[in-house]
């Protein structure tokens, strides 16, 4: 399995390098200020993508991440407007994010509802609550002593403070996913929750915690977003969940769970941020940018499917078979075997 994953990651790294090499041909790309902005502009997306990765590995999804960000931003604005100190607001907002994650967790894990349906619902619900809090208002004037943490680069370098936070979070998620036993459990759950359960993995507890983590990370992302734009609004990060999901999928994470790496997602994020920046500099219109991102995404899902049968001739790969495997959750053995044949 590792071999095949690395193959997709190498494709991504080549793509990433290509984007940055081609980018240097555009005026103003290879400048400290621009690289810094490019990284900063994707910091919130990166946090949301890192929050999504472990959830998607277990075969679930959380589409409410950007709405959670929006709600937390609106909450930050409301509390700041009410005269609360920023030091008090930070823990409250992070707790609120975790709480929203807990609502998802209860619905998905305790009630056993499909996460896609639940989080499409909370996507609307949390965004709606953000509007209840702030309406069309925008709150501004956040403390200038904290704002540089979300806007500035470390003096003399191109590395923004916010990107360091993203790297730390990415490293922690990498340790969680690739080093710990919990990480191995995530893959096992993704390949078959039932089997995982019978193997003594506490599926529910793990899934529950992942949603709390997701809510918390979305809240942290909201603090960066709010400080970066110096503006708390209910529509902040509207639609960002799709960019984050795109990064996760482009990163080679299987939407059915059980496959994917942090390196893949991180490379995909960097490639997407670079590509977006280059397209902007070359005055490529928004519509065309969406077309390019969309095609890349389809390609990322298509390539593994197209190339898989060649390596695994002996295993039937009709989607229905995969579906059956997933529904019963019992026959993951063949999938595991198949994956290993790719090594």
């Amino acid at each position: 399995m590792l071999g095949r994953l690395l193959r997709w990651e190498s494709v991504l790294i080549v793509l990433c390098v290509a984007v940055f090499v081609a980018g240097s041909a555009s005026d103003g790309f290879a400048e400290q200020g621009n690289i810094s902005f490019l990284l900063l502009d994707y910091s919130e997306v990166a946090l949301l993508a890192f929050a999504l990765l472990p959830i998607v590995l277990t075969g679930e999804i959380d589409l409410s991440v950007a709405s959670t960000l929006g709600f937390c931003s609106a909450l930050t604005g409301t509390l700041w407007d009410a005269g609360m100190s920023f030091e008090t607001i930070v823990p409250i907002v992070i707790l609120a994010g975790i709480l929203l994650g807990a609502v998802n967790a209860v619905l998905v894990v305790l009630f056993g509802l499909p996460s896609l349906a639940v989080t499409i619902g909370t996507l609307g619900l949390y965004r709606g609550l953000a509007y209840v809090l702030l309406g069309d208002r925008a709150v501004t004037g956040f403390p200038e002593n904290y704002r540089p943490l979300a806007t500035d680069a470390i003096p003399g370098t191109f590395l923004p403070y916010a990107t360091i936070l993203v790297l730390v979070v990415g490293a922690l998620i990498a340790v969680l996913v690739h080093v710990t036993t919990i990480g191995r459990s995530l893959y096992a759950i993704g390949l078959g929750a039932q089997t995982a359960r019978f193997s003594g993995i506490r599926v529910n507890r793990i899934k529950f915690s992942l949603y709390l983590l997701s809510g918390g990370l979305a809240a942290i992302a909201s603090l960066i977003y709010t400080l970066r734009y110096n503006s708390a609004r209910a529509d902040n990060a509207n639609g960002m969940e799709l960019v984050a999901v795109a990064a996760v999928l482009l990163g080679g994470v299987s939407i059915f769970g059980g496959r994917g790496t942090v390196l893949g997602v991180a490379t995909a994020l960097l490639a997407m941020a670079g590509l977006r920046n280059v397209l902007f500099l070359d005055d490529v219109s928004n519509e065309i940018q969406n077309v390019i991102t969309g095609l890349l995404l389809i390609l990322s899902v298509l390539v593994p499917v197209v190339f898989k049968p060649r390596r695994t001739k002996d295993v039937p790969l009709e989607p229905s078979v995969v579906d059956t495997e997933r529904r019963t959750g019992a026959d993951t053995g063949s999938r595991l075997r198949r994956d290993h044949q790719g090594v």
């Binding site: 005026d27 503006s231 990060a237």
Partner: protein
């Protein structure tokens, strides 16, 4: 000279017209003008564009801000790198731009509506106002100036009998217009300072016995009012010309970028065919009186 126009949203037809005027102005000055912008009008989407324009070393950025504060840090960054910043339609935080080109001042809009109505009804009779929502800031400011204008002695025979609210909803505005005409039999005219209200009222009037008898004026776009002007329902209405707004913003940006002006109060510059402008308080320039549209000139406009 490179000047870029950044609307709230690239598909906003009004702002596309403004930017067209702006690009025309830059072309007249033998510079390169272009329009770039996000496809959603969210607060932060413009920031990526501002960064791009800074990296492209544009000489000036002309922007309609989606969020006055969210774009402020990026615009300040642009100014610190010597790029001129002009806002139009929707201002950014005043310390994040050098000039704001205002389409028209509220007082002038309010007072000119009353003048137009007085001319059309011969200076006497009952009138009503069909507004947007009861708490619409723009409309309420204009209505206050209308009421103030009506206190002048030359309007002593005009009586404002009612302010109705169509909530900027076509159906509701239509019904409110109908209600006004039926409940006030000797009504002489309606002022509707909203593009939704005026077109709904015109639609009702054009198919009612009051057509041509009860006058209708206000703020509307030539394209939505053309047929009602031609069939005699509406004599004259007004709106600022978006193309001229962009044209003025383009000239202001060029004057800033070339160092001719710095955005200080009292400075003067010439905006091509529009003539000379003086920068007012807080770096504001006002385009001028709204353009009046009637059967003689309406076909010259397409927006």
């Amino acid at each position: 000279m490179k000047i870029a126009f950044l609307p709230k949203e690239i598909d906003n037809p009004y702002e596309v017209l403004v930017d067209k005027g702006g690009v025309n102005a830059v072309t007249e000055l033998k510079g390169t003008g272009k329009e770039v912008g996000p496809s959603d009008a969210s607060a932060s989407s413009q920031v990526s564009y501002i960064n791009t324009l800074i990296q492209q070393k544009q000489d000036a950025i002309v922007i309609a801000a989606n969020d006055p504060n969210a774009v402020a840090p990026a615009l300040k960054d642009a100014m610190s790198k010597g790029i001129a910043v002009v806002t139009y339609d929707s201002d950014a935080a005043p310390d994040a731009r050098q000039i704001f080109v205002n389409q028209a001042n509220s007082e002038e809009i309010g007072r000119s509506e009353v003048k137009m109505m007085a001319e059309q009804i011969g200076g006497s009779g009952k009138i009503a106002i069909l507004s947007a929502t009861p708490n619409a800031t723009n409309q309420n400011t204009w209505i206050d100036f209308m009421k103030d204008e009506l206190k002048k002695p030359e309007y002593k025979n005009i009586e404002l009998v009612k302010v109705a609210y169509g909530d900027d909803d076509d159906q509701k505005s239509f019904q409110e217009a109908q209600g006004l005409l039926q409940s006030i039999p000797d009504l002489k005219g309606i002022i509707s300072p909203t593009t939704v209200g005026i077109s709904a009222a015109a639609r009702y009037l054009s198919s009612s016995p009051y057509k041509g008898q009860v006058k209708l004026t206000g703020l509307g776009t030539p394209n939505q009012m053309r047929e009602f002007v031609k069939d005699g329902t509406v004599t004259e209405f007004a709106l600022w010309d978006p193309v001229n707004l962009g044209y003025l913003a383009g000239y202001a940006a060029a004057a800033l970028a070339s160092g001719q002006i710095s955005g200080e109060k009292g400075e003067k510059f010439t905006a091509g065919k529009l003539g000379e402008y003086t920068i007012g308080d807080k770096g504001e320039i006002i385009l001028g009186p709204p353009t009046k549209f009637n059967k003689d000139n309406i076909d010259d406009y397409d927006f």
